[in-house]
């Protein structure tokens, strides 16, 4: 059993008249499978990046490392997120549907990590 510590920080000096300076962290228990930070090449065809059948509850990190191309992320068949270049997401995943990715064009890379609780 291991401890995973994610921290998110949001900052802006001008999105509101009061400065935004926000940070949150958590202490997560990881006791099963781990996919360390990895890269996969995507295309405009669906790629099952993280198959639901392989995992139970897990924490997922995704990042579009391309400089110009959007990568779409589906939960099962539901288009759910669009990661623009450089953008990332971190969320708990209950593994009820595959995490499927497809690029808007060409073959950009997506970075991902999975930590099964």
């Amino acid at each position: 059993m291991a401890t995973l510590t994610p921290t998110l920080t949001l900052t802006s000096t001008d999105i509101t008249s009061d400065e935004l300076s926000f940070s949150v962290t958590d202490s997560l228990t990881v006791s099963k499978a781990v996919i360390p930070p990895s890269r996969a090449i995507t295309s405009t065809s669906d790629l099952t990046l993280i198959p639901a059948a392989t995992y139970t509850k897990a924490y997922v990190y995704l990042k579009n490392v391309d400089a110009s191309i959007v990568i779409n992320v589906d939960f099962g068949t539901q288009l759910s997120m669009a990661l623009a270049p450089g953008e990332f997401a971190f969320f708990p995943w209950d593994s009820s549907g595959n995490i499927v990715v497809a690029s808007a064009s060409a073959t950009p890379y997506i970075e991902y990590a999975v930590f099964e609780a």
């Binding site: 291991a2 401890t3 995973l4 510590t5 994610p6 921290t7 998110l8 920080t9 949001l10 900052t11 802006s12 000096t13 001008d14 999105i15 509101t16 935004l20 926000f22 949150v24 958590d26 202490s27 997560l28 990881v30 781990v34 360390p36 930070p37 509850k57 990190y61 990042k63 939960f75 099962g76 539901q78 288009l79 759910s80 997120m81 669009a82 990661l83 623009a84 450089g86 953008e87 990332f88 997401a89 971190f90 969320f91 708990p92 995943w93 209950d94 009820s96 549907g97 990590a113 930590f115």
Partner: protein, 134 residues
Amino acid sequence: MATTTAAISVASSDLTGNALSLSSTNTLYKAGTVIGLDQTTGLGSKYYAAAQSNATLISAATYEDNTANWVYLKNPGSSTEDYFTIELGASNIVIGRLYGGDWMWIPYEGEQDIDISSSAIKMTLETMVIYQVA
């Protein structure tokens, strides 16, 4: 134009034989541009006296389709048993559960509602949306 920066780090000293230290930073832009997002709901807190089932938390009607928006959600409770289930769209596709102290940070296109269900009464959920107006 506002400039808002999101940064994440994920660390563990005991997950594998080598310490894990992952970090990433990005500026939040309007879709397809390098113009910063300039709208936010602010950090809010919603108390649910009763248990919820597929209740709309973030209505897609509030946001324009195919835009670049970001959603932060946190269960500020301390229970390791009670949780919010975060769901997407009319068919309530489950993304995951937020137990006490858990949070998530996801991009949001503004096309589907984000709904929640809660496992118990008297639960609180923190929310913030940073979004664009075309």
